[in-house]
Amino acid sequence: MDEVELKRIVWRSRRGLLELDLQLERFVAEDLPQLTEPELVLYRELLQYPDNDLLDYLNGRSECPNPRLWPIIARIRAAQR
């Protein structure tokens, strides 16, 4: 993934909900540099979900309908502890 795309992903981690901003900010700072190319693609895909759905996935309140994204969701959740 080229640098522009990476920076675009960083900006798109800014959301309409504070709870998402806080969680994704930490994830972006701490984990993003370590992600593999396929993981980055999955994270980019996850960012396509509406804010409320995304928050529910990250809080474990509901399950993301796409199982391929479960590992990246688990990783974001783990970054909070």
């Binding site: 960083v10 900006w11 800014r14 504070l18 901003d21």
Partner: protein, 590 residues
């Protein structure tokens, strides 16, 4: 220097509820309409609104717009303009039904009508008893509203410029607004969006405070741009706070935690609410709790290395009760405070969540300065001050504000565009050049203040000196301090000078907007020596002559802060509604 120009009938900055509602009006009228947004429209902060939108539909019990109007005037502590409030409350049923027809999935009654629930401050028969007036789509009202409006805009051919940041307003020598200077984030290229009519719908600026529920995007861009362009900001001392947000994060801890037995403690572990409210203690009303918390912090009994918060303790509760009755709170505390509340208390602090003031407009969404309409300039939503919320907003009136004033400003713009000359006038260059120079200064400055440091200094100063409960001396010091912080902002430096998605530069530009709001807030609050609505001062106490510290004789007026010289002006509150009698001054009590 030559900045490329894109031409439209209308340009709208901000794609939350107000911007989208206005854009829809314009596009459906066949006008060429551009909407600029820093983020994808459905990720605007409107998405955070859960509670609902109020309208006196009377689907569950009798209701009337006049009762809604009464509640809103009272809620505003009589600082709201009664013409704008009448307009909003009368329009409410129309805009809600319209939204229903746009595909908004409102909760419904068995008979198919929109379900309505009660909400704080909304009453029937002029304050008699609670009424069911709030229309909602589960707990996702704002989200559903954005989706319905966005889809409708796509159908109407609104042109979206997503991931664009507006930088500055463009005014000609006579002050007429000609559009905005804006930057495409991906390339950092700067364009002028020239239009016959320009609307700011950029939302609030809650990020001026250290503790805020606002998303990171809420940086008051419209307010900063307006202030730099010589437009005053109205009633900026009025901000709504919630007593318990997680310190350092801003995520709210529901009042239900205190209902379940949560106790507030200071640095020595004392249950301090026993001193402030011997009977209700930790269950006292929001303002009493906020005031006690701030007093403890100010008197040096705050917790943590900076002594800047207190603790909400539920460690004495049965862990099973916490897990079953307060599961969300445990999750929030672990995530955002790094504390398991079963084992240790949660750091909390009063937290800002809504801005009542903004760009002065009338109920048609036209920006009004010194009694005159600014030709070609409009504002709607949280960035605007119509003023319907006055000194304090009622819940569910914010989504209503977006719909009503988004639509009315759209209509005003249509009328204006129709009478404007067919061809756009020659573009004035002075503001364009100033804007480009502002970005260039950031690009070229070597050595200075880190953006994060400048922002943190501003947020700490606002939180400490101008928070939920205010003290005369603290405010006076705060004015001096925020002007010092402004010097830091003027000297910000960014390490990354690259062209593509340069978030460091974007954040610096946002801080340049926030500081204008911070100054306006501190200076306006310092000057207003009464307590009214959300502006509560220790030195403006409850007396028989001035109940709740409100001083109508001297302060029943709107503040106007002018950036040039930090001058303040005042204008009268419009007490005369459009068609009914004035709702007369009264002490606000519930």
């Amino acid at each position: 220097m030559s900045v490329p120009v894109r031409k439209f009938d209308a340009v709208i900055v901000g794609a939350g509820g107000a911007g989208l509602r206005a854009a829809l009006q314009l596009s459906e009228a066949g006008l060429k309409t551009a909407v600029l947004s820093k983020v994808f429209p459905t990720r605007s902060h409107t998405v955070a609104a859960q509670g609902g939108v109020s309208a006196s539909l009377g689907n569950s019990e009798p209701d009337h717009w006049h009762w809604h109007m009464y509640d809103t005037v009272k809620g505003s502590d009589w600082l709201g303009d009664q013409d704008a409030i009448e307009f909003m409350c009368r329009e409410a049923p129309n805009v809600v039904v319209e939204l229903e027809h746009f595909g908004m999935p409102f909760d419904r009654n068995a008979d198919g009508t929109i379900y309505q629930r009660p909400f704080g401050g909304h009453m029937s028969n002029f304050g008699e008893k609670p009424v069911r007036r709030a229309c909602a789509a589960a707990d996702r009202t704002g989200h559903a509203m954005l989706h319905a409006l966005y889809q409708r805009n796509v159908r109407a051919n609104t042109q979206f410029f997503v991931e664009w940041m507006a930088l500055d307003l463009v005014r000609d020598a006579d002050g007429n607004v000609q559009g905005v200077v804006a930057m495409e984030m991906e390339t950092s290229e700067i364009y002028v969006f020239q239009a016959k009519a320009t609307l700011f719908a950029t939302g609030g600026a809650g990020r001026i405070f250290a503790s805020s529920t606002n998303a990171f995007i809420n940086t008051g861009d419209g307010l900063g741009m307006a202030a730099r362009a010589g437009i005053p900001l109205e009633d900026m001392e009025f901000w709504q706070f919630h007593p318990t947000g997680v310190a350092g994060a801003g995520v709210l801890i529901t009042e239900g935690v205190r209902g379940e037995g949560g106790i507030l403690r200071n640095s020595s572990g004392e249950r301090f609410m026993e001193r402030y409210a011997p009977n209700a203690k930790d269950l006292a009303s929001r303002d009493v709790v906020s005031r006690a918390m701030v007093t403890e912090i100010n008197e040096g009994r705050g917790c943590g290395p900076n002594k800047d918060h207190v603790l909400l303790d539920i460690t004495h509760l049965d862990p099973e009760v916490i897990k079953s009755k307060l599961p969300g709170i445990r999750e929030i505390s672990i995530k955002f405070a790094g504390v398991d509340p079963i084992k240790a208390p949660i750091p909390v602090v009063p937290t800002c969540h809504y801005q009542m003031g903004g760009i002065p407009t009338n109920y048609r969404g036209e920006v009004v300065v010194d009694g005159n309409v600014v030709s070609g300039f409009y504002a709607a939503g949280e960035v605007a001050c119509a003023s319907v919320h006055g000194a304090n907003r009622l819940g569910t009136n914010s989504l209503l504000d977006l719909l009503v004033f988004g639509k009315s400003s759209g209509n005003s713009m249509i009328d204006f565009i129709k009478t404007a000359p067919k061809d756009l006038p020659e573009l004035a260059q002075a503001d364009v050049e100033r804007s480009v120079a502002r970005v260039e200064a950031l690009n070229t400055r070597a050595g200075g203040v880190e953006v994060n440091d400048a922002r943190s200094a501003m947020q700490a100063t606002m939180q400490k000196h101008c928070g939920v409960f205010r003290f005369k001396d603290m405010l006076a010091d705060g004015v001096a301090k925020i002007l010092e912080v402004e010097k830091l902002v003027q000297n910000m430096v960014i390490g990354d000078k690259s062209k593509t998605f340069n978030t460091a530069r974007l954040e610096a530009l946002e801080v340049e907007n926030l500081i204008e709001v911070a100054k306006a807030t501190m200076i306006s609050a310092n000057a207003r020596t009464e307590s009214r609505g959300a502006h509560v001062r220790d030195d403006a106490a409850d007396t028989p002559q001035n109940p709740n510290g409100r001083d109508d004789e001297n302060w029943l007026k709107h503040t106007l802060w002018y950036r040039a010289g930090n001058q303040l002006g005042y204008k009268p509150v419009t007490m005369k509604p459009l068609s009914v009698e004035t709702i007369a001054l009264k002490t606000r009590s519930y």
